[in-house]
């Protein structure tokens, strides 16, 4: 089936970058990352059920430098989607829509996601996990 070539409205390339669009794009991006990550969770649980050898593969991968990098990025993606998800739910309730509020709570989610990521890994490291 051939697609008619229709003119498209101007998209991202015509806009100056601003926090409002960054928070929106990051929410979708982190959502896609977390959806991919959800398959890894299923695989890890299947390995845990399969036995010690399969589980050793999971912990070996998770403890490698690449695994730790993925886990760190994954933590941030979850932290961001979580805190910006709260923001979205509040917006659904009609809150925080003035431009000043919108910009402020956008920055709160971005900085908050970094703080949450730091806290989670601070706890992991202080407990000696993955050492």
């Amino acid at each position: 089936m051939s697609q008619p070539v229709r003119p498209l409205s101007p998209h991202l390339q015509v806009y100056r970058w601003q926090i409002q669009m960054v928070t929106s794009i990051l929410h979708r991006g982190t959502g896609i990352i977390l959806a991919v990550g959800s398959v890894l969770i299923a695989a890890a649980l299947a390995c845990l059920a399969a036995g010690p050898e399969a589980w050793a593969c999971v912990t070996g991968l998770a403890g490698s430098w690449f695994g730790l990098l993925v886990l760190f990025g994954w933590t941030w993606a979850l932290a961001y989607h979580w805190i910006n998800g709260i923001r979205h739910l509040l917006q659904d309730a009609g809150l925080g829509y003035s431009i000043a509020q919108f910009v402020r709570n956008g920055w709160i989610t971005v900085i908050g996601s970094l703080v949450i990521t730091g806290l989670v890994w601070g706890v992991v490291i202080s407990r000696g996990g993955f050492a």
Partner: protein, 130 residues
């Protein structure tokens, strides 16, 4: 009378479905699973952090605990449901070739349902010690 009713045209009530042909069902389920995941994600991250560096027996015993097993299954169902709903919107937004859109929607649904079934089955196996 909800405060949101003023955004709805009478024809919406007459037809009952809206332009998406399924009313607000997608919107509402996406938000219900979101609220569930707000709490379940804290719990799961807490569980994973406490198990970081733990040996096999400890990790397996933690997942086998009835409270953890039930909450994990709740988390898995909410997560894969929420993931499917989110990916559905992404595909609707960006994939405009009809056969490709249908194929990718089917693939996402099958993958999410399969991963949900496999992971819940794994938790049940661990919880029942088989």
């Amino acid at each position: 009378m909800s405060r949101f009713d003023r955004f709805r045209a009478p024809i919406k009530n007459a037809r009952g479905l809206g332009s998406a042909k399924d009313g607000v069902h997608h919107f509402i389920v996406q938000r219900i699973t979101a609220v569930a995941l707000l709490f379940l994600a804290i719990y799961v991250v807490g569980l994973v952090v406490t198990l970081a560096g733990a040996d096999y027996a400890t990790a397996r015993a933690a997942v086998a605990h009835p409270a953890n097993a039930v909450l994990l299954v709740a988390f898995l169902l909410a997560m894969f449901w929420h993931a499917q709903l989110g990916l559905q919107v992404v595909i609707e937004d960006y994939v405009h070739t009809p056969w490709l859109a249908i194929a990718s929607q089917l693939a996402v649904r099958f993958a999410c349902v399969l991963a949900a079934l496999a992971s819940v089955f794994a938790v049940v196996r661990i919880a029942l010690g088989t």
